[in-house]
C-alpha cells in the first residue's frame, strides 16, 4: 500500500500512508490513538475506499471495494470494535455468509461441529451454541478471532485483538499466529502493548498523524525507539511508589457480597488515597463485583459501606450519589452515548452541575470542561462537538475516562481503563490515577494486564471463580498473583487466612 490518502469530514485520517507485508511475516502497525491504523486497515479490507494511493497484492494493483471482495482476495480482518451479531450463537457468527447446507437447508450440526473444531484448535473452551450476547467481551473477542481464522486468509489483519484478553488467551493467540506464520500467512498486528510487539513481530511500521514514519525490525529495535517514533519524544518510566495509607480512613468497604455463581462472599475495603488493583483470569468475576457495588446489577446479599456509613445502593444513581464512579470495560455498550458529541459524553454523568435555573444547560461551562479534558488526555478530535462514534477506539476510551474524572467521585472503579490506549496516553493515565489517589480518592483498578496492575496498585486483590482468593501487597510477584488467580475452591480456606493477614 503506497501513498494512501483518506479524509473524513473535518479529519484527515491518512496522508500518504504506506505499508508493506510479506508472506509469512508478522508486521506490527504502531501509532498513537487516532494515528490512522484502523483506517488504513479498513481500506485494505474493503470497508472504506481510499481517496488516493495504490494497493498492490502479489504485485498486482487491486481495487478493493467491499469486504466480500477482500475475502475473495484472501484478506481477512479482526476489527478493533467487535462486529458480532449479538443475537446469534458463536458458531452462527463465525460462519455467517458461509453456512454449511444440505439440500439448501442449513446444516446446524455441521456448523456447530466446524465451530467446535476451530475452538479446539485454539484451545478455547466455548460451546458453539451459546448466544454471543451472553459472552464476556473477552470471549466475544475470541469468537472474532475464531471467525477470522475460519476464512483461512493469506493476509490476516488483527486490530488490537488482545485489548480484551488475558495472558493465557494471549499466549494461545500467539501460538496460533506462529502456526499461521509457518503456513505463509502474512499478519498485520496492531496493538498498544509494547511487550507483545517485541514478542511476536518481525517488523514494525510506525505511523503518526496519518503519515508513515518508518519501518524497523521488531526484535532488535529498543522499545524506546519505537515509542519515540510514535509520539515524537521519549517517555519517562516512573516506578511504583506505595504511599503509606494504613492510617487513612476506609473509603469503601464491601462485606459478604454474593450473587449466584459469579460472586461468592466477596469482602474487601479500600482506604482513602489507595489504589486497589484487581487481578484474575478471564471470568474471575471482577467485573461482576464492580457492577454489583455500583448497583448496575442486582446483588443477592452483601453490604456496602462508604466512609463508615452503610449505604443502600440499588441503582447506579444511588452509587453515584454515594460518591462512587464506575468505568465499564465495554465502552461501546455501557460507556459511550455514541450519538452524542464528545462534550456531552464527557458531561453526561455531571449534567446536574451544568443545569441552571429552569433546567437550562450551561453550554459554555460544559465546553470549557470538555476542552480541558481533551487537552489533558490528548483526545484526538477535531472539536468537542464531534460525534463520539467517529473517534478512534482509543480516543473513545479517553472520553469515557474524562466523563468520570469530571464527575469527581470519591471512589472510582476503573474496569480495564487503558483498553486500547496508546503507550503515551497510558502513562498519562497512570500519572493521573496516582494524582487522584494522592488527592485522597479511593481507586479500584480492574485490569487483565498484570504489568498494569503491578505498576499501579498499592494492594492487589486476586479473584478466582467468583471468590476473592487473596489480597497481596503492592509489588507482589507475578507468580504469587497467578497462584491466587488459579486457586480453586478446595484451597479457599487457605486464602481466607491470607486475606486476614493482608
Amino acid at each position: 500500500m503506497t501513498d494512501i490518502d483518506k479524509s473524513f469530514p473535518g479529519v484527515r485520517a491518512l496522508a500518504k500512508a504506506r505499508f508493506e507485508l510479506l508472506p509469512g511475516e508478522v508486521h506490527a502497525l504502531m501509532g498513537e490513538n487516532g494515528a490512522g491504523k484502523s483506517t488504513l486497515m479498513k481500506i485494505l479490507s474493503g470497508v472504506y475506499t481510499r481517496d488516493a494511493g495504490t494497493v498492490l497484492l502479489n504485485g498486482q494493483p487491486v481495487d478493493i471495494t467491499s469486504p466480500r471482495q477482500a475475502q475473495d482476495l484472501g484478506v481477512g480482518i479482526i476489527h478493533q470494535e467487535l462486529a458480532l451479531m449479538r443475537d446469534l450463537t458463536a458458531a452462527q457468527n463465525i460462519f455467517i455468509g458461509r453456512e454449511p447446507r444440505r439440500f439448501g437447508i442449513l446444516d446446524e450440526r455441521q456448523l456447530n461441529r466446524d465451530a467446535a473444531a476451530i475452538f479446539a484448535s485454539m484451545n478455547l473452551k466455548l460451546e458453539p451454541t451459546v448466544r454471543v450476547e451472553t459472552l464476556t467481551i473477552a470471549k466475544q473477542q475470541m469468537v472474532e478471532i475464531a471467525k477470522a481464522l475460519s476464512y483461512r486468509s493469506r493476509v490476516l489483519i488483527m486490530d488490537e485483538p488482545t485489548a480484551a484478553l488475558n495472558d493465557a488467551e494471549i499466549a494461545e493467540l500467539f501460538a496460533i499466529i506462529n502456526r499461521l506464520k509457518a503456513e505463509g500467512v502474512g499478519i498485520v498486528y496492531i496493538s498498544h502493548k509494547m511487550d507483545e510487539i517485541k514478542r511476536i513481530s518481525d517488523r514494525v511500521t510506525i505511523m503518526r498523524d496519518g503519515e508513515y514514519v518508518g519501518t524497523v525490525p521488531g526484535a532488535d529495535t529498543p522499545i524506546e525507539t519505537i515509542i519515540s517514533m510514535m509520539v515524537g519524544r521519549t517517555l519517562s518510566n516512573d516506578t511504583l511508589v506505595i504511599p503509606n495509607t494504613a492510617d487513612a480512613p476506609i473509603a469503601l468497604e464491601v462485606k459478604n457480597l454474593n450473587r449466584g455463581r459469579e460472586i461468592r462472599d466477596v469482602s474487601f475495603s479500600v482506604r482513602k488515597g489507595e489504589i486497589l488493583g484487581f487481578a484474575g483470569l478471564m471470568g474471575a468475576g471482577r467485573t461482576e463485583v464492580a457492577r454489583a457495588i455500583f448497583g448496575a446489577d442486582r446483588r443477592e446479599s452483601g453490604e456496602i459501606w462508604v466512609h463508615g456509613q452503610r449505604v443502600g445502593i440499588s441503582s447506579p444513581k444511588d452509587a453515584v450519589e454515594a460518591g462512587i464512579g464506575y468505568l465499564s470495560e465495554d465502552r461501546k455498550h455501557f460507556g459511550l452515548a455514541t450519538g452524542l458529541d464528545v462534550r456531552n459524553n464527557i458531561a453526561l454523568a455531571s449534567l446536574q452541575r451544568f443545569t441552571g435555573p429552569a433546567g437550562v444547560l450551561d453550554e459554555a461551562g460544559m465546553q470549557k470542561e470538555a476542552v480541558g479534558y481533551i487537552r489533558q488526555l490528548a483526545i484526538k478530535t477535531p472539536s468537542d462537538t464531534q460525534e463520539a462514534r467517529l473517534l478512534s477506539g482509543g480516543n473513545q476510551q479517553k472520553v469515557v475516562i474524562a466523563k468520570w474524572l469530571l464527575r469527581d467521585c470519591d471512589i472510582l472503579i476503573f474496569d480495564e481503563p487503558t483498553r486500547g490506549i496508546d503507550v503515551g496516553a497510558k502513562s498519562e493515565i497512570y500519572k493521573l490515577l496516582n494524582a487522584l489517589a494522592a488527592e485522597g480518592k479511593a481507586i479500584i483498578v480492574i485490569s487483565s494486564e498484570l504489568p498494569e496492575v503491578l505498576r499501579l496498585s498499592h494492594r492487589i486483590a486476586v479473584m478466582c471463580e467468583g471468590r476473592l482468593t487473596g489480597i497481596l501487597p503492592g509489588g507482589a510477584s507475578q507468580e504469587e498473583i497467578m497462584r491466587l488467580a488459579t486457586l480453586r475452591q478446595s484451597s479457599v480456606v487457605e486464602s481466607a487466612t491470607q486475606r486476614k493477614t493482608a
Partner: protein, 331 residues
C-alpha cells in the same frame, strides 16, 4: 454458561425452558379461562372456530410482519398490500375470467413483487423502512382502488374460491370438527415461516440483519440481496392473506386494509418479538394474534359495551405483555 460439563446442569435449564415456553401461553390461557368462566357460550366449538377464523387473516399478516421486524425493519404496507393482492386475484378471476390457480398465483406474485419493490427502496436507496413502506402503503391503497374501479370485485364466477378460507377439508373428514380451511392456511404459513426462519439461510440472515447489520456487511454478505428477499417473502405472505380475506368475503374489497398493519404489528410485539430486531418467533406471533382475537371475541360474547371494550382491550394488552416480561425476568 459455556460449561459443557455436567449433564445435570444441562437438563436443569431444559426442563425449565419447556416449562417457561408453556408459560408464554399463560396470558392467552388466563384469558380463555376467564372468558369460559364468565360465559357458557365462550368455550363452544363454534365459537372457538369463530375465534380461529377471526385470527386467520391477522395471523397471516402478523407472520409476514414478523419477518421484517426481525430484520429490525418494519412493514406498514402489509394491510393495503393484502387488499391489493385480493384485488389482483379479483381482476384475474372475475374480470379476465381465468382459472383459479392463476388467480392464486397472481395474488402471491403481486405480493412478492410489491415486497421486492419495498425491499429495493430500503436496501438500495437506503430509505428508512418506515417511510418506504408507508409510501408503499399509500401507493397500494390507491392502486387497489384504481384497478378495481373503486368497487368490490365479487368471485361469484369462481365457485371454488370461497373454499380457500371457508371450506373445511378437516370437516369433510371429521364432521365434528369443521375447522375452516382459512385456519389451516394460517397454520401452514406459520409452519413454513418457522421453518424458513430456523432452517434456511434466509432465516439466518433475517436474524443476523436485525442483530447487527453492519457486522453482516463486514462479513462479506450481500446484505442488500437478503434484505430484499425478506421483504419479498413478507409480500408473498401478504398475498396469501389477500387470498384468505377475499375468499372469506367472497369479494375483493378495495378500500379495506389500512389500519390492519397496526393489529398485525401489535400481534408481533405482544408475541415477544422486539421492534429493534434480532429476535422473534412465529409461535409468539401466533399467540399474540390469538390474544387479540380472543379478547375481541370474549368481550363481545360478554356483551361489554363497545366503548368499554377498547378500554379493557388496551389494559389487557399492557398487562399481558407485562406478565410476559415478569416471566422472562424470572427465567
Amino acid at each position: 454458561m459455556t460449561d459443557t460439563a455436567a449433564p445435570a446442569a444441562k437438563s436443569g435449564p431444559r426442563i425449565s425452558g419447556a416449562f417457561h415456553r408453556l408459560l408464554a401461553f399463560s396470558g392467552l390461557i388466563a384469558l380463555v379461562v376467564a372468558f369460559s368462566l364468565a360465559s357458557p357460550n365462550f368455550l363452544q366449538t363454534q365459537n372457538i372456530l369463530a375465534i380461529l377464523q377471526a385470527t386467520s387473516v391477522n395471523g397471516v399478516l402478523a407472520i409476514a410482519a414478523t419477518l421484517v421486524i426481525i430484520t429490525g425493519g418494519i412493514d406498514l404496507s402489509v394491510g393495503t398490500l393484502m387488499t391489493f393482492c385480493a384485488v389482483v386475484a379479483g381482476v384475474i378471476l372475475t374480470y379476465w375470467g381465468l382459472p383459479l390457480p392463476l388467480g392464486i398465483l397472481g395474488a402471491i406474485l403481486a405480493g412478492t413483487a410489491s415486497g421486492f419493490v419495498s425491499g429495493t427502496i430500503i436496501a438500495k436507496l437506503k430509505v428508512p423502512p418506515f417511510i418506504a413502506t408507508l409510501g408503499m402503503m399509500l401507493i397500494l391503497k390507491g392502486l387497489s382502488l384504481v384497478i378495481s374501479g373503486t368497487k368490490p370485485i365479487y368471485f361469484n364466477d369462481t365457485p371454488g374460491f370461497n373454499q380457500i378460507a371457508l371450506g373445511s377439508a378437516v370437516g369433510s373428514v371429521f364432521p365434528a370438527v369443521p375447522l375452516p380451511n382459512g385456519v389451516l392456511v394460517l397454520f401452514a404459513v406459520a409452519v413454513v415461516a418457522a421453518f424458513v426462519l430456523s432452517k434456511t439461510a434466509l432465516g439466518r440472515y433475517t436474524f443476523a440483519l436485525g442483530s447487527n447489520e453492519e457486522a453482516v456487511r463486514l462479513s462479506g454478505v450481500n446484505i442488500d440481496r437478503w434484505k430484499i428477499a425478506v421483504y419479498a417473502v413478507t409480500g408473498a405472505i401478504c398475498g396469501v392473506a389477500g387470498l384468505l380475506i377475499a375468499s372469506r368475503l367472497n369479494s375483493a374489497q378495495p378500500a379495506l386494509g389500512q389500519g390492519y398493519e397496526l393489529d398485525a404489528i401489535a400481534a408481533v410485539v405482544i408475541g415477544g418479538t422486539s421492534l429493534s430486531g434480532g429476535r422473534g418467533t412465529v409461535v409468539g406471533t401466533l399467540i399474540g394474534a390469538l390474544i387479540i382475537s380472543v379478547l375481541a371475541n370474549g368481550l363481545r360474547i360478554l356483551s361489554v359495551p363497545q366503548e368499554w371494550q377498547t378500554v379493557v382491550t388496551g389494559t389487557i394488552i399492557i398487562l399481558a405483555v407485562y406478565a410476559d416480561i415478569l416471566r422472562r425476568r424470572a427465567l
